[in-house]
């Protein structure tokens, strides 16, 4: 998976769904065996068959409570990233999805005002300040602050990029370097 993390994809249309958007909806089992790219074409199809054709880079997915509940399958977060989504706004996130999202460069934002966002509203995210601007409704929402260690991961471009930096800076012990490199 090669994602373009440096793109500034913080402004777009809101796709609003309900509570408990689970990993079988985000990444249906029947397509798990395929590449993440192929898999992403089926993201959310069981609740919104038009999502994949309508979503554009920068668009923002909005859920209710427990977004990403279910499997540890990373394709749930990866599919959104491949489709150009960089932010998911919800009341709460399931724990494995929450970790997976940061690891892949997708920022999950916890926002108490999630219900005020309507489908197709244009949102602009300022993750540094933890603010979501709703340009359609001309108002602003606060989000919970993202813990520092997770901010570092997402700012590095994901967990692997952060790991690469640490390896280059010799800040890790116990590594076994490949002999064929």
């Amino acid at each position: 998976m090669n994602f373009n993390f440096v793109q500034n994809l913080n402004k777009g249309k809101a796709f609003v769904y309900g509570d408990d958007i689970n990993t079988d909806v985000l990444a249906p089992g029947a397509y798990l065996k395929y590449s993440p790219e192929k898999m992403s074409k089926h993201c959310l199809e069981s609740i919104d068959p038009d999502f994949v054709s309508n979503v554009k880079p920068g668009d923002i997915v909005v859920g209710g409570k427990n977004f990403g509940v279910g499997s540890s399958r990373e394709q749930a977060a990866a599919s959104l990233v491949i489709l150009g989504v960089r932010y998911v706004v919800a009341k709460s996130f399931a724990r494995i999805f929450y970790r997976n999202a940061f690891n892949l460069g997708l920022t999950p934002l916890i926002c108490e005002d999630y219900r005020k966002i309507n489908n197709n509203d244009i949102l602009e995210i300022n993750s540094k300040e933890g603010k979501i601007k709703n340009l359609t409704q001309n108002c602003e929402y606060n989000t919970n602050s993202v813990p520092d260690h997770l901010l570092k991961i997402v700012n590095a471009g994901g967990l692997l990029a952060e790991l690469k930096n640490k390896i280059e800076n010799n800040t890790l012990k116990t590594l076994r370097f490949r002999k064929d490199n």
Partner: protein, 419 residues
């Protein structure tokens, strides 16, 4: 202030004397378990890109269970990648087509009390039945674990799930967990550890305890755990495991964020309606619903005792003409044991078809997936929309007794009615 079992294990793995809920700590991993789906096909190329081998091949267990046996060239290729990678990394703890990871891991003696383990699957909390602290993570987190042998965790709070009393006949651990799902919902134990306590738990076998910890994934928990006792010791001794920490338990003054109390004496058979385990209620609320497929399978629902429960109902009876019964034993060792004690014969005589040991239809991957508008009752742990095949299929969850009873009558009935 004392610590809970989980806090003790995390503190030890983090190399500190005390941890408190909310702290972020880095833990050393005792065992990392991965499977064919989220395993080598993801971590192999990434480790190569980082220029690394795994940190310690002896601490990694690889189990092919999702795409077994291969049904097309795509799944065949995933299994080949797994076999090739295991060889390349000199990993000897490799179980290919021998059952589902959460079952095979303890069955082959890889778990014991006090270990800090991670698994590349959301049902990794199953390991908690053995007093192991085991959490599920995604493929990228697992890549970092395989590279460094470490992982960050936020120390979770602990919810005590206390069961008193004695379960009635034909009431099982699956009914207990569906009751918990129904009461507290999919987020009821959000980011907490569920520690199971009480006399009901002490009287449960290891097979049944594994259902409890397995399904903590369904209430949003980070994991589930049960303090070791003589039942645990007997199981681990049968695997020739030594140096078992039988002292491991929560301190008397440990802090539990909440306590959920249940009375086993009054528990009725439970059924979860589509499309969430949280839709669990007494079976009587769903009595009479027609069933096209009865499925006994997955990590949570096709252990030896699960098959024996089904056989107890099905003995001398045959499946309804309108209902098919599919049985996928959780491991090949379980298949062998069920063949030896006559359980399999009862099931197949009743009309069951046997499927390979693997995740199969539970995850919508293998044989037994559903068509549009079909209705299934299943011993599995999750019934989200589209999980077991077509998105317009409906899946109910129930105990092996309940699923076997539905196979005979073609509809949801209380298993005690047909004995």
């Amino acid at each position: 202030m004392g610590m809970t079992i989980s806090e003790k294990i995390i503190a030890k793995s983090a190399g500190v004397s005390l941890v408190k809920p909310g702290e972020i700590v880095t833990c050393s991993v005792d065992i990392a378990m991965i499977h064919d789906s989220s395993g080598p096909r993801r971590q192999g190329p990434r480790l190569k890109e980082l220029g690394l081998n795994v940190w310690d091949p002896s601490k990694i267990v690889v189990i092919s269970d999702h795409y077994v046996p291969a049904v097309d060239t795509v799944s065949a290729n995933i299994l080949k990648i797994t076999r090739d990678w295991v060889k390349e990394e000199n990993i000897t703890n490799f179980y290919d087509l021998q059952g589902i990871c959460h079952i095979v891991l303890p069955e082959r003696g890889h778990l014991k009390p006090g270990l800090f383990c991670v698994g590349g699957d959301s049902h990794s909390p199953t390991g908690g039945a053995f007093g192991t602290f085991m959490i599920g993570v995604g493929a990228t987190d697992m890549t970092a674990v395989l590279a460094t042998g470490e992982i960050w965790v936020r120390v979770p709070e602990t919810m005590q799930v206390n069961w008193s009393g004695k379960l009635n006949e034909f009431i099982t651990a699956k009914d207990m967990m569906l009751a918990l799902c129904g009461r507290i919902g999919l987020l009821g134990a959000d980011y907490m550890v569920c520690e199971f306590t009480g006399e009901t738990i002490k009287n449960l076998s290891m097979d049944e305890r594994m259902v409890l910890t397995n399904m903590t994934a369904e209430v949003g928990a980070k994991t589930g755990i049960i303090a070791p006792d003589n039942t645990t010791l007997d199981f681990l001794s049968s695997k020739n495991l030594k140096e078992i920490d039988m002292e491991l338990c929560s301190d008397e003054d440990a802090n539990f964020a909440t306590i959920e109390k249940f009375d086993a004496n009054t528990l009725e058979p439970q059924v979860a309606a589509p499309h969430s385990p949280a839709n669990s209620k007494n079976l009587s609320e769903f009595r009479g619903i027609n069933i096209d497929q009865a499925y006994i399978g997955a990590c949570t629902g096709a252990k030896l005792e699960d098959l024996q429960m089904a056989a107890k109902i099905l003995k001398g009876k045959t499946c309804s003409k309108t209902t098919r019964l599919l049985v996928a034993p959780s491991s090949t060792k379980i298949t062998a044991a069920a063949a030896a004690d006559g359980t399999l014969e009862i099931l197949t005589e009743a009309g069951a078809i046997l499927l390979p040991s693997g995740c199969g239809a539970c995850a919508g991957l293998g044989a037994g997936v559903l068509s549009k508008e079909e209705v299934c009752i299943s011993t599995t742990n999750r019934n989200f929309k589209g999980r077991m095949g077509d998105q317009d299929a409906e899946v109910y969850l129930g105990s092996p007794y309940t699923v076997a009873a539905a196979a005979i009558t073609g509809r949801i009935v209380d298993p005690r009615e047909i004995i």
